[in-house]
């Protein structure tokens, strides 16, 4: 079955990508010495802070130094700095592949667990809510508008939307987010400024869920707005190209209804390239969601990633999250690839 073989090859490639990314992360963190230096600096910083508070009760300089040394050793061993990076990090990667995500050093879940799996699991729904909603809405609107535009190329609507697409492509996601907050939260006051729940949070499962959705509106809107533009334009152009293909003329000559022509002979043929553009936009959407979560104070994985990198670097969390994000990318990509192969018989290798 050529279909299965194609997919198998793709699947193995993706797995290879996953492994390569993990190795890259580890090398970036470790071989550059970034991780070690960063953690050393953090330890030194903590110790400097401790000096003044310890000085309140320890009045003998020698004993003070002793106490600080003890603290330093503790900190070093807890950060794993008593072993070099190539001793501690491959272990992390191996663990992660066994789906044991390890423990975070400084970050914790909201019920106190420091197991990365718990922290991430807690945050996945939040991120998934944003990501999948945004992707579905973008794809849906993109296809609707793109196809509509392809039927009237050069019309004023077409020009306006194409212009908007170019602008949307250039807009940084985080900037759009902030702008929307300004307009909708502060000027108009109809949407919250950020966070996931209101003050005080409503009781009861349903009310809480509705509150969550209410808070999710702006972030999703931001993600959609930022990724819609190029997507619409690509779909429009692809559909347009296909609409001018010969088989469409023939289909019309066959006397088929316009609906059949646009449905089966244009859209259906445009479906594979549309899926391709979804694949290409996937990585961008994942990255954009990280920024959106940060701007909107949305406690999802993106925010966690940001905190793990920008704050005290938490190696285990960084490795685990990179793995998860790559995994999400791969899975989404596989789904799309399968979809592509189903849609386009020409790529099934004999």
């Amino acid at each position: 079955m050529s279909l299965l073989r194609t997919l198998l090859v793709r699947g193995l490639t993706m797995l290879g990508v996953l492994l390569a990314v993990q190795i890259l992360v580890v090398v970036c963190l470790g071989a550059t010495g970034y991780s070690d230096r960063m953690l050393q600096a953090v330890i030194s910083e903590q110790l400097r802070g401790m000096r003044s508070s310890l000085a309140q009760t320890i009045r003998d300089p020698a004993r003070l130094e002793e106490a600080l040394e003890a603290h330093r050793e503790e900190l070093e061993s807890s950060y794993g700095l008593d072993r070099p990076w190539f001793a501690r990090m491959p272990g992390m990667v191996a663990r992660v592949f066994k789906l044991d995500l390890g423990e975070a050093h400084t970050l914790r879940s909201s019920d106190g667990s420091n197991r990365v799996a718990d922290i991430v699991l807690e945050r996945i729904p939040a991120t998934m809510l944003l990501l999948t909603s945004a992707m579905v809405i973008t794809a849906g609107i993109g296809i609707l508008i793109g196809v509509k535009l392809a039927t009237h190329p050069g019309s004023p609507l077409d020009r306006v939307v194409s212009g908007f697409s170019a602008v949307s492509f250039a807009l940084p996601t985080w900037w759009v987010g902030i702008l929307l907050i300004l307009i909708f939260s502060f000027r108009l006051g109809i949407l919250p400024t950020g966070g996931m729940y209101s003050v005080p949070p409503p009781d009861g499962g349903f009310a809480r869920f509705m509150d969550l959705l209410y808070h999710a509106l702006l972030p999703i809107f931001t993600l959609v707005l930022a990724s819609l533009g190029p997507y619409v334009y690509v779909i429009r152009t692809m559909t347009l190209n296909i609409a001018q293909a010969e088989h469409v003329t023939i289909a019309r000559a066959k006397g088929l209804s316009e609906r059949t022509v646009s449905g089966r002979h244009i859209l259906r043929v445009a479906a594979p390239p549309i899926v391709t553009s979804l694949i290409l936009g996937l990585a961008g959407t994942l990255g954009g969601s990280i920024l959106v979560e940060t701007v909107f104070n949305w406690r999802g994985m993106g925010r966690l990633y940001y905190e793990a990198i920008a704050g005290t670097p938490d190696e285990m969390v960084i490795v685990a999250l990179t793995f998860i994000y790559t995994l999400i990318y791969i899975l989404a990509r596989m789904v799309l690839e399968v979809l592509y192969v189903i849609l386009d018989p020409r790529v099934r290798y004999g």
Binding site: R37, M38, Q40, A41, V42, S44, E45, L47, R48, R51, S52, L54, A55, Q56, T57, I58, R59, D60, P61, R63, L64, E66, A67, L68, A70, H71, E73, E74, L75, S77, S78, Y79, E103, A104, H105, T106, L107, R108, S110, D111, G112, S113, N114, F186, G189, T193, G194, G195, M196, Y197, V199, P200, P201, N297, R299, E307, A310, G311, T312, P313
Partner: protein, 796 residues
């Protein structure tokens, strides 16, 4: 045996109390039920950039995190909210004094050039323009907002440090040439290469603009200055984790948070100037080049250890260190920036702390909105991943501390205006034989024997420098939040716990750092003696010329949590090994860092409590003090049951004795709720801890004084301020930068009237020139000073 000092202090306390009563009349407490002013306080997180808008929208009543400068300025202009300001951070420039490798030149390795930098920084501009007036210029490590300013302010004046870029460049030119550099086209060249200076500027706040300013000045002085803008993480890697000799930086914009109001500083001056404490370039890191200064180290350690016999001795150490620090100019001080906390105008009852502003322990106890019983407090976060609620190794971040503060009553705390330790819920009486002598410790005083788990009498022949008798009756007549009485058992468990942490070998292996930290402190304690129903005598080897500081040092137990919670946590950490007090132990043993507000952790403690209850367990040895049995089975059972009941109801185990108790804590929603604890026997009611705004000290006098050489002159000065005020003066030759005369003004007549006289012998030394009279007023009732400069006209 000197006890006269305590009398003096009692006298002062009375004056203060009188003053406060006067003040208190102008503030009407909303009710006189025991407990706090508001019935409910809700904490919620708001982002600092959106805070002003959230305030205006009415989402919160006050914000406990400082607004950014621009936002603060805007609110100030609009005047719709009250702004509480407190000096929050000091900003300094750190210069890298390491010597450059052969063939290169580090201008800052030359002391004179470092000192010249003091003249290149425009502190007024920074305070006025960059900080929009919300900062105060600083020359030494202390500002006029600190009590010790009085000790060294003349050193500041005589240093002559002011913004004089011409002069600065002159000195630089002289020294650069001496070092072998030459100037071409306005730039310095050493062995054919331009002299490069790298500035690391922090980007998160105004330090970014300061870096820009410094760069401009350095460029004008002929250096090739470049800035690397870095956030926290990237900056500290380069500055604090690299060998200064690698010159990853030449200048760094530092920022220091201020801790509580402190009188008689001993740590800060060391931190900022003396290399031994590890805060000078080199950081005492093995392998790095170290900045060294033997005299500063020697003096610093002396000051630190308290090796002085009197206030005067202490002051002279302090002055010498400050002088040396200014001369060395490795740290150049710029400004003290102010924190701005906004609140609704109709918010009453706030006592702003001199240092922490709104975040003082008194604020929320007394705060209420007119006509309302609830209060909504905003903060940057309510919960972060590092917010850990445990009294032994947690409460390390502001977000937990800022709520916890209102849930427990400490035995002592520092007066908001003077910084002197005061009785809060515990009273004290100090007896001391220091600095030279010792008292004898009664043989039946006890110490905890960690090896054998019991209280043992110290036996005969033990002596200690001071004795403090603490009176805990204000605790004992009321209850813990879970309705259980506060007893001697809670105190003695807590003391034993600290000794266990420090001396029990097994526990040391688990919580290493905590043990090492506690030992030097606990070594100074020589014995504890329960007296009567509610008093404990504490014998300790510690002396300070201000008695209250001895009491503060000797306070043995924080009394923040009931013994059964502490015991359950101890069991969990050391026996069951399923949790840890500190984060380092937690990560080492792969257990949870215990936080009583976290569901999972609280449940672990709850399970332990249930186990205790089932076995009718009483921690062995802890409650057998000097023959007395502090806890019996019934007491223990009642305790456990009450704690379990509490957990069933509230789902957390934060039980304490303060005016509020924690009713809700919701991390994902960033929300916490505090309810008033209205036990009829709670000793305080609204108004008791209201101090109001810190009183101001103001000097008023003529703007000018005429001096005729050979004639004596005098000046009348008014000083308005609380308590006992004083006035010092400096007659200063501006051009020569020298002090001609200094002295203390005399109080004449009214307590606010002062008169200073300048003798003819002094005026005869005057020449035509620029002179100034610097006045500094101080008070014993507030850790602030006031300054005034009077122009001097010399007539011939």
């Amino acid at each position: 045996m000197k006890i006269t000092q305590s009398q003096t202090f009692r006298g002062i306390s009375i004056i203060i109390l009188l003053f406060l009563t006067v003040f208190a009349f102008s503030y009407q407490p909303p009710h006189n039920k025991p407990g706090p002013a508001s019935d409910k306080i809700m904490f919620h997180a708001f982002d600092v950039d959106r805070a002003p808008l959230d305030l205006e929208a009415g989402n919160m009543d006050l914000y406990m995190y400082s607004l950014k400068t621009e936002a603060a300025e805007q609110l100030k202009r609009r005047g719709t909210f009250s702004l509480y300001q407190a000096p929050a951070s000091t900003i300094s420039l750190l210069l890298n004094p390491a010597p450059a490798p052969q063939g290169q030149l580090n201008p800052f390795s030359i002391k004179e050039i470092r000192h010249a930098m003091q003249y290149l920084v425009n502190r007024d501009f920074i305070a006025r323009d960059i900080y929009r007036g919300m900062a105060v210029p600083m020359i030494s490590h202390i500002s006029p907002q600190d009590f010790d300013y009085l000790t060294i302010y003349d050193i500041e004046r005589t240093s002559g440090i002011t913004y004089d870029p011409e002069y600065g460049r002159q000195i630089i030119a002289k020294e650069m040439r001496r070092a072998g550099a030459g100037m071409a086209d306005g730039k310095w060249y050493y062995r054919g290469m331009p002299v490069r200076v790298k500035i690391i500027g922090r980007v998160e706040d105004e330090r970014r603009n300061i870096a820009d300013l410094i760069r401009a000045e350095l460029e004008k002085a002929g250096f090739d200055a470049s800035i690397s803008y870095r956030p926290f993480a990237a900056a500290i890697i380069s500055v604090y984790s690299s060998d200064p000799k690698t010159f990853e930086w030449h200048i760094y914009t530092e920022g220091w948070g201020r801790s509580a109001v402190q009188r008689y500083d001993f740590a800060t001056v060391n931190q900022m100037y003396a290399p031994w404490l590890g805060n000078m370039p080199g950081w005492q890191e093995v392998g790095f080049w170290q900045y060294s200064h033997p005299e500063l180290d020697r003096l610093g350690k002396q000051l630190f250890r308290g090796e002085f016999g009197s206030l005067e001795e202490r002051n002279s150490l302090y002055r010498r260190m400050t002088q040396l620090g200014l001369d060395e100019s490795v740290r150049i001080w710029l400004v003290t920036a102010v924190n701005t906390f906004p609140a609704k105008k109709n918010l009453k009852g706030i006592t702003p702390d001199l240092v922490s502003g709104l975040r003082s322990p008194w604020s929320l106890r007394e705060a209420s909105l007119q006509g309302k019983s609830d209060l909504t407090v905003g903060h940057l976060w309510v919960w972060t991943e590092r917010t850990t609620w445990n009294p032994v190794g947690g409460f390390g971040d502001v977000y937990s501390a800022d709520i916890w503060r209102y849930l427990h009553d400490p035995p002592l705390w520092n007066h908001p205006f003077t910084g002197i330790p005061q009785p809060m819920r515990a009273g004290f009486e100090v007896e001391t034989a220091g600095p030279g002598g010792k008292l004898s410790v009664p043989p039946d005083a006890v110490l905890w024997d960690a090896e054998n788990n019991r209280w043992t009498g110290v036996g005969g022949g033990v002596r200690a420098v001071s004795k403090v008798t603490f009176d805990y009756s204000r605790y004992f007549r009321s209850k813990w939040h879970h309705d259980q009485p506060i007893t001697m058992a809670d105190i003695f468990y807590s003391i034993a716990q600290s000794f266990e942490l420090a001396y029990d070998r097994d526990k040391n292996r688990i919580e290493v750092a905590l043990g090492v930290t506690a030992r030097p402190y606990l070594e100074t304690f020589k014995g504890f003696c329960p007296v009567g129903e509610s008093k404990v005598e504490v014998y300790v080897d510690y002396w300070h010329f201000e008695e209250n500081h001895i009491a503060s040092y000797a306070s043995p137990a924080g009394l923040s949590m009931p013994w059964e919670i502490l015991a359950a946590m101890d069991d969990l950490v050391f026996h069951q090994r399923r949790a840890a007090y500190s984060d380092t132990a937690a990560s080492r043993f792969n257990v949870t860092w215990i936080s009583l507000v976290m569901d999972r952790d609280a449940r672990l403690v709850e399970r332990t409590l249930r186990d205790f209850e089932r076995r009718s367990y009483i921690p062995e040895g802890y409650f057998n003090v000097g023959g007395r049995e502090l806890v019996n089975k019934k007491d223990a059972e009642a305790r456990y049951q009450a704690a379990l009941e509490w957990f069933r109801d509230k789902r957390h185990l934060v039980i304490s004795n303060g005016p509020f108790y924690l009713s809700k804590y919701d991390p994902p929603a960033q929300y916490a709720e505090l309810n008033a604890f209205r036990d009829s026997a709670y000793p305080f009611k609204p108004g008791d801890w209201y101090f109001g705004y810190p009183p101001e000290i103001e000097i008023s006098s003529a703007n000018q004084i005429r001096l005729v050489p050979g004639e004596s002159a005098g000046l009348k000065v008014q000083v308005q301020g609380p308590g006992k005020t004083g006035l010092q003066y400096l007659l200063f030759d501006t051009a020569a930068r020298t002090v001609i005369a200094r002295g203390e003004a005399e109080q004449r007549g009214e307590p606010t009237e002062f008169y200073l006289s300048i003798d003819s012998s002094i005026t005869s030394k005057l020449f035509p020139g620029l002179y100034e009279l610097h006045l500094i007023a101080y008070s014993d009732a507030i850790a602030k000073t006031a300054l005034r400069t009077v122009d001097v006209d010399v007539l011939f």
